[in-house]
């Protein structure tokens, strides 16, 4: 099984998000980037499949701050190869990113014959589209999203995929390979890789690079962000101040007033 995992860095919301002076984008000078959470699950799912039935896992990402650490970490976890696409413009949207990444997957030897293309089901900045269906469209492959279980079969070239529905219902699908999957959650939580191992990998292995020149298509997004703002914190909540006991009493009063006690 040749598996390609598409990883994306997104702004880390643990930090306070600052808005750039133009009011249309985030000021990332002090902000940090982190691997999109469901992409981490996609990588884990890929590694689990490799451990079970062999094959190769290649992690692909666009150049971004802190992406090197993520790619080395992927190698330390067991990925066979990592590929960094260098030179994309800053603030590339999901759609523009998908366009570039799809071309790399289609042209790069070793990625061309992928049986599975995995990525996270959704990222927090997917304003103009979701990565998985975009890739499937660009690569002319079938697509299934919100996947929580994936069992590919070498022989029959069919994967059994579990998709999540509301109310805790799940459904089993059969998907002909090759295909693109949007992973919601891996079968096991993403594994821990010790810092020593990542550092050892940084010394002994390298990240392959491929330039994005010629693959970009500006304006693909068709959207124009007019303004971004931070919603007023607790704009709608009345915060019950005081000690825990005082707040609890106040809340009791409110509930009693409304006949809820």
């Amino acid at each position: 099984m040749n598996i390609v995992v598409v990883l994306r860095m997104v702004p880390d919301v643990v930090e306070e998000l600052e808005i750039a002076p133009d009011g249309k984008s985030l000021d990332l000078e002090f902000g940090r980037m982190v691997l999109s959470e469901s992409d981490d699950h996609a990588l884990e799912q890929a590694l689990l499949i490799k451990e079970r039935m062999g094959g190769t896992v290649t992690a692909v990402a666009l150049e971004a701050p802190e992406v090197d650490e993520v790619l080395f970490s992927a190698l330390a976890k067991g990925a066979d190869r990592t590929l960094k696409i260098t030179g994309p413009k800053e603030g590339v949207t999901t759609r523009e990113a998908a366009h570039i990444i799809a071309q790399v997957i289609a042209s790069e030897p070793g990625l061309r014959g992928a049986d599975l293309v995995l990525t996270g089901t959704q990222a927090i900045n997917d304003l103009d589209g979701l990565m998985a269906p975009l890739l499937s469209q660009e690569l002319s492959l079938p697509f299934l999203g919100i996947v929580t279980g994936l069992l590919p079969d070498f022989a029959t070239r069919i994967a059994s995929a579990t998709k999540e529905y509301p109310r805790g219902v799940r459904a089993e699908f059969e998907v002909a390979l090759p295909a693109v999957f949007g992973i919601q959650a891996a079968e096991k939580p993403p594994r821990y890789v010790p810092v020593a191992k990542v550092r050892a990998v940084m010394k002994s292995q390298k990240i392959d690079c491929v330039p994005s020149a010629g693959m970009e298509e500006p304006g693909l997004s068709l959207l124009q962000v007019l303004e971004i703002t931070k919603p007023e914190p607790s704009a709608h909540s009345e915060i019950l101040e005081g000690s825990v006991q005082q707040a609890a009493c106040a809340l009791c009063g409110i509930l009693a007033e409304r006949g809820l006690l």
Binding site: V14, Y192, P194, A196, R199
Partner: protein
Amino acid sequence: MLDPAITSYLGVPGYAYLWALTLLSFTLFGHKVLRYVAVLREARKENRWDKPGRRLRLFVANVLGQRRLLAEPVAGAAHFIILWAFVLYALSFAWNLVRGLLPFLPIPWADDIPGVGLALELFAVLGLAALAVVAVRRYIFTPPRLERSFDATIILALITLVLVSSLSMQVTKVRTPELSLAFWWVHMVTVLGFLAYLPYSKHLHLLAAPFGVFFASLQNTGMPAASEGAELRQDFTWRQLFSGLACAECGRCDRVCPSVGSGYALSPKVLMRQVKEAVRISDGHKKPVRLLGDMVKPEEIWACTTCYACMERCPVFNEHLSVLLEMRRHLVSQGQVEHRIQETLTHLTRYGNSFGASPRARPKWTQGLGFRIKDARKEPVEYLWFVGDYASYDSRVMPATRAMARVLEFAGVNFGILYEDEQNAGNDVRRIGEEGLFELLLEKNRKSLASARFQQIVTTDPHTYHVLKNEYPSVGGDGRVLHSTELLAKLFRAGKLPVRHSLRLAVTYHDACYLGRYNGVVEAPRRVIDELGATLKELPRNRNNAYCCGAGGGRIWMEDVPGISERPAENRVREAAGLEGVRTLVVACPKDLVMFQDAIKTTALEGKLVVKELSELVAQAVGLAERSESHVAA
């Protein structure tokens, strides 16, 4: 005078029998011991020959002087007597054996040497009395965690027989020489039998313990040397495996272990037995001995709080903690860490703190103090205050941190902090076994420290104190790192903290593990409490005997195990509440503060006992108390 060596039995002279028995005994003994040595030689090398003078002093105090055993006075005194009786008898036996095997030698029997006979008799009587004491202790007033094993019973019986037979031999020498002879044979056969049995019994500690003490770890941190962790028997160092052989199963470690006290999966004594069993396996190398996995389970390994009480107590200087940490390192290297630990380690790697909060939020606690704390990165200071994660980020600890800041400012101390450039010092990261992450944190902290100019480092956090002082090369050492209580004591001595509101009340004080037991800082906090005008009532378990709150070793970050009836912190607050007239438990550690606050709630002691950090009390006494905030938003 009958000479057993030349007396004939069934036509064969005595010495012939003696030779046969001796060879049998020595072969059985030697074979097993050589097997053990072979296993130890297969293990990882570790040089324990350094500082021989210090080692010799350790030997004299603990083997000859039995110092650690005397901590339990009755058993200790009895054991002291039995030990020296044994030494005397061993020497006498060796002499007699040589004389018996080689009867042509012109030397007397040992008991015929003037004075020796009397000494032997005296020690036989004393020894038997001591044996009676230990038997009563073992079988009637059995201490907790002491197993009344078959092995132990045999040993006691054999020792008794050795002493009784010797005494009987002496007593019957003159009147009934044949009987005396018989007792002589009984004595020799018993000792030879004892010798043959020794390697199969826990009494191997007789031979192993002196070596164990001499080759003890001189660091007093329980931290194993750099390694990738250990899983198989041969991955451990020879000294770690040796701990199994030297263990006498006395149970002293278990008696002070918070894990055992609360019923978690770990028992240090059982761990030592598992090591011993691993060493004993000799199936001809059919397959490697998987100590971790087959014998020791992960739940045991993760249950340790690294409080060091086991190693501090152990009379043979076993290295329980070292063995555990090796196995933790291995589990971490395999990524086999529980979910919450994984999250915490990821937070530490990414944000440099265990809370997963933004590094930029680290200095937020300094807001609203009314004065600006110096930035040690920008201007030189005398004291660099390395604040620590819990003191900076935890809303329950922030009031104490702020109190400390106000006290230092009031006392005119020239101090500063590293602001956002401070990272977790890494003590608990090391104790979880993530050496790589520790290296990373150490590097980042060193860089931050290098950018600052200061004379000394001070911290309120004992974990931070311990690791900066002992495990940051060229940062600690030479008194460069102080705990806040040490600085406070200094300030009081210098008259910089005049007490306005003397704290006329009775308090008790909990010695944090990493402050008291690991680093011996016990008098400074007591000095401070005294200066505050408070009366200190000691907890029954105090100073190096203090009972761990249960937060160390990363346990504060781990999932709670269901079904525990009383956690270590709950046990400790009950101990404090049990002191007459005491309503305040004083601590000098942020994690203690948090653990005991929680425990007071879960034991329904609210209103009866309150826990206070020492800096808060100092601020109060000096007249700097802020209106208390019960919960502070970050």
